[in-house]
Amino acid sequence: MAERTELTTTKAPDSNEHPTSPAVDIFEDAGGITLLADMPGVAKDRLDVKLDGDTLSVEGRVELQGLADMRALWAEVNVPRFRRTFTLSRELDASRIEANLKDGVLTLRVPKHAHAQPRRIEVKSA
């Protein structure tokens, strides 16, 4: 990319603004659904994955070290909070969710209930 970002003063990050929605990849295979969410700057202790009925919510806080005497020159990321919610459909077994956080990427795997997995029905000839 030939573009170059020139620094101009802009407003400093405001943590009272409503949270940013993290970018996600979601795909489904025969066994369940996989979700990946970009949450850079979020460490495990600042990540909250909650399940309320069939609503899955993902929330994280960005913690940047050593900012006490830092003056913002340019901020494309203005809000240090991520939040996004999803509704899980019935064939997903929410009790068996697996979550993994690495390098700011949250990976969630929600398997389908055993009875909801696609099954091939054998057709017997009469």
Binding site: M1, L7, K11, D25, I26, D38, P40, M70, D103
Partner: protein, 150 residues
């Protein structure tokens, strides 16, 4: 407008917010003049720059990347961050159904003009929790110097 509906946030308000951010940033509304080389929509990674008493700190929000594969260079006071992010989506598997593909993938490259008073030889770069932090010390001669009066 959107190459595929899978690559943009589904929520209506998120879409409005994305559009709004794009327009205000590019058009120079909201007080700050739009950069003469305005950032294209969807620039990855997003960048924050701050200034402390002794350094300039650049934060690139680049989750899910192998830190050692990042290419960070400084040339004529321009910091350039490049790399590649592989897609996490399994391709070629006909059993897989894709519902959302919002995460940027592929090659990326961003360049930031650094202030004139940095010392390009005193740079440290650390990648942690998906953030690349580049610290450039300010040039010693740029610090305020006290001159004693005889």
């Amino acid at each position: 407008m959107f190459d595929t509906m899978l690559s943009r946030p589904q929520n209506l308000f998120d879409q409005l917010e994305s559009l709004q951010r794009l327009l205000t940033r590019a058009a120079g509304v909201e007080g700050a003049p739009g950069g003469i080389r305005s950032v294209a929509y969807g620039a990855f990674p997003e960048i924050n720059v701050g200034r402390t008493q002794n350094s300039v700190e650049v934060f690139a929000f680049a989750p899910g990347i192998d830190g050692s594969s990042l290419d960070v260079t400084i040339e004529r006071n321009v910091l350039k961050i490049s790399g590649t992010r592989a897609s996490a989506i399994p391709r070629g598997d006909t059993q897989v159904q894709l519902y959302a593909n919002e995460r940027p993938q592929g090659r990326f490259s961003r360049a930031v003009s650094l202030p004139d008073d940095v010392d390009p030889l005193k740079v440290e770069a650390k990648y942690r929790d998906g953030i690349l932090r580049v610290s450039i010390a300010l040039s010693a001669t740029a610090q305020p110097q006290r001159i004693s009066v005889q």
